[in-house]
């Protein structure tokens, strides 16, 4: 029997148009706005495509997965513990370099990723050309250029989603090469980590976090949160800053 229900996580830096894409996909009207931190609690919606139903979760925008703030922990925990079938990382075409930092970190956790390069229209206006085929080869996961605001590239994105959950696309995520010092430490830690957490979690990434002394991650791993719990809006404090 083939599955027909899938979960998709939507990730990305603040203000890259995640919520706009979310609205386009689900037909919902999540509030969007042109400032970072608009999505303060995680929003969920559904859409159907080619006979499958997708639950899509719009995570708060983050710059990293380093457990610096409640938002980043929410995003990290979702990837680790709720293990979505697919993660769409939305990156801003006009600031690709900065946005890729997060995409690369997500690739360290999971290979089931599609990178959606949003704001292509704006990039074009600014004279920025992105070779998405080349980027796709380098990253080892599908890269789809879109303009969520103009509903461009959405069909291709949905078809890629479909192909991916049905196993028609195999990914080979890029693995960041660290300094020899760190690579050595990682390989020393890996066997022990595999033994402790099994195959459930990305061992290489956990090794990195341990080397970094990320105690918040450790606490989360010791006490994995209940799956599918709806969180409260306790970290909802990212309103716009009133100008003076």
């Amino acid at each position: 029997m083939t599955r027909t229900n899938y979960t998709i996580a939507l990730m990305g830096n603040p203000n890259t148009g995640k919520s706009t894409l979310f609205n386009v996909l689900t037909g919902l009207r999540q509030h969007t706005g042109n400032w970072p931190g608009k999505t303060v609690i995680r929003a969920e919606g559904e859409f159907a495509h080619r006979g499958a139903t997708y639950r899509i979760v719009d995570l708060p925008g983050t710059y990293s997965l380093y457990s610096n703030s409640a938002d980043e922990e929410v995003a990290r925990d979702f990837l680790l513990f709720e293990r979505p079938d697919l993660t769409i990382v939305v990156v801003d075409a006009t600031a690709l370099e900065r946005n890729l930092n997060l995409a690369l970190q997500v690739l360290e956790i999971t290979g089931r990723v599609i990178v959606a390069v949003n704001l292509m229209d704006e990039a074009k206006k600014k004279g920025i050309l992105i070779n998405s085929k080349k980027l796709e080869n380098k990253l080892g996961v599908p890269v789809v250029p879109i303009s969520a605001r103009n509903k461009e590239g959405i069909d291709k994105l949905m078809n890629t989603v479909d192909a991916m959950v049905r196993g028609r696309i195999k990914t080979n995520p890029l693995s960041i090469q660290y300094s020899p010092e760190i690579e050595q430490a990682i390989s020393k830690l890996m066997p022990n980590i595999r033994e402790t957490v099994g195959d459930a979690y990305p061992a290489r990434w956990i090794a990195l976090r341990l080397l970094d002394g990320d105690t918040s991650l450790l606490a989360a791993l010791k006490q994995p949160p209940q799956r599918d719990t709806k969180e409260e809006g306790a970290y909802a404090c990212c309103g716009s800053v009133e100008s003076i």
Binding site: N13, G37, Y63, S64, Y66, N68, S69, A70, D71, E72, L96, E97, R98, L100, N101, L104, Q105, K126, G127, I128, L129, I130, N131, S132, K134, L135, K138, L139, L174, I176, Q177, Y178, S179, E181, I182, Q184, A185, K188, L189, N192, I193, T196, A207, L208, L210, L211, D212, G213, T215, L218, L221, K222, Q223, C237, C238, G239, V241, E242, I244
Partner: protein
């Protein structure tokens, strides 16, 4: 696996990891990620020639460089202040003369309707004269300073200030974004307290809240500029006078920033220990602001807002001060009685009782501190009208002011407790009486210590 067993294994893993960790692990990890992103972009992204974008990058290469960042920042601030001071002198005198003329007519009107003396005193000598003093003294610097500052802000310079300061804040153990909230504090501390929400970690946010007060806000700029122009450049004439005045105000701002950094550093080593978190600071492209619109908006919104606040709070305060100054207890007025009570302590700080009383009565808003002081002095017998800066200086001199009094009032204004509105916001944001009290007591203690030190030093060196 049992939860406890699992937990132990994790702890052992972390221990093992810590023994393998190079000192700059985080740095190395972040660098590797950044380099990978950069390499990817070099291969996959091409920029068509684009003048606008290039310009922003070119400008940023200079204004955020290690060598030129700070000198440019200080030069811009000095230039803005120079223009403010030079322009305000002209304005202030003519404005004061205008108010003086109106006062004569008002007095004549009161005489014409045979109004009792106390009513004339309350309305004209208290309310009107006090309000007029506020307007003529404070409006000119504001009407020049705010539009200039707003132009810089709208052009996109403030994020660059934050970028330059970022390095220093990280060194003190605070969050780089604190430089952004500090920059907002130059406008209004109360609003800046709200803006600390952009700092995620509660520890770093508290640092930003507790130290925001050390940069001068709208309500304090006029006091600093005014006192500096009256006392700090007395020996100079013409352009030099203005330049020295501006330099002193720049020095005040620098000192405020140094105190901010020092207090952040001490707190992050003691009560608010921790390591600074990483973040990305976005530098928006420079945009040429709509110049006329910015000037008009800044003048109308900011100047009038501050002035309205000053007048609405100052008007009742003017009446209160007049009443306190005219109700006698024995052979002295209530005002003089209170000021005399504070005087011994104030003298130790290089101030006097009236100044301290003005700061205390001025808790609701920094804008009214100087006006209250002026009213206090005026009600205490000196019946001159304030018709311009020279007579204002004479009033202060008559009350025994020296350059040290002016310097210490500037320092006290820069460092003392936040205004009432800011304190309310601090309580709303922290939901903690304890931290709100700290936000009140810490700056006050620093203000007292610093003014005490300068006063004692100046006296010991025989400078006054």
């Amino acid at each position: 696996m049992l939860a406890a067993d699992r937990s132990n294994r994790f702890d052992r893993l972390l221990e093992e990891a810590q023994t393998l960790t190079p000192a700059d692990t985080r740095e190395q990890i972040v660098t590797a990620i950044f380099q990978t992103s950069a390499a990817l972009c070099r291969e996959c992204v091409t920029h068509r020639h684009n003048v606008k974008r290039d310009r922003t990058e070119q400008i940023d290469r200079i204004v955020t460089s290690k060598r030129w960042g700070f000198p440019i920042m200080l030069a811009l601030l000095a230039a803005v202040l120079y223009m403010t001071i030079a322009g305000a002198n002209v304005f202030s005198d003519s404005l004061a003369r205008l108010f003086g003329t109106v006062e004569t007519y008002l007095t004549m009107a009161f005489q014409a309707i045979h109004a009792p003396d106390w009513l004339h005193g309350l309305i004209v000598l208290g309310l009107y004269r006090g309000t007029a003093a506020v307007v003529s003294v404070m409006l000119p610097p504001m009407a020049i300073f705010f539009p200039l500052f707003a132009l810089l802000e709208n052009y996109g310079y403030l994020p660059r200030v934050a970028f330059n300061m970022d390095r220093l804040f990280k060194k003190t153990g605070a969050h780089g974004k604190q430089s952004l909230t500090m920059a907002m504090g130059f406008g209004c501390n109360a609003a800046a307290i709200m803006s600390t929400r952009i700092i995620e970690s509660p520890r770093e946010r508290m640092l930003a809240i507790l130290t925001n007060n050390f940069v001068p806000c709208n309500g304090r700029w006029p006091t600093l500029i005014l006192l500096s122009s009256l006392f700090m450049a007395a020996g100079y004439t013409g352009g030099w006078n203005t330049l020295v005045t501006a330099a002193v105000v720049v020095a005040m701002v620098l000192f405020g920033i140094i105190v901010t950094l020092a207090v952040s550093w001490i707190l992050s080593k003691t009560a608010l220990r921790g390591i600074p978190t990483h973040y990305t600071l976005e530098l928006p492209p420079y945009r040429r602001p709509k110049i006329m619109e910015t000037i008009i908006r800044a003048t109308l919104d900011k100047s009038l807002y501050v002035l309205k606040r000053a007048v609405t709070v100052a008007a009742p305060a003017a009446i209160l001060t007049w009443v306190l100054g005219n109700v006698h207890v024995g052979d002295t007025t209530v005002l003089a009685y209170l000021a005399d009570g504070l005087d011994p302590f104030a003298k130790v700080l290089g101030l006097d009782g009236y100044i301290l009383l003005a700061f205390i009565l001025g808790l609701p808003a920094n804008e009214i501190v100087f006006p209250i002081l002026l009213m206090g002095y005026l009600s205490a017998g000196a019946l001159t009208e304030v018709d311009g800066l020279s007579s204002l200086k004479q009033i202060l001199l008559d009350h025994g002011w020296t350059w040290l009094t002016a310097l210490n009032m500037m320092l006290f204004s820069l460092l003392h407790y936040p205004c009432g509105t800011t304190l309310v916001n601090i309580y709303k944001e922290t939901k903690s009486v304890k931290w709100t009290f700290v936000a009140f007591a810490l700056p006050t203690a620093i203000a007292i210590m610093v003014t005490f030190a300068t006063a004692q030093l100046a006296r010991w060196l025989g400078l006054v």
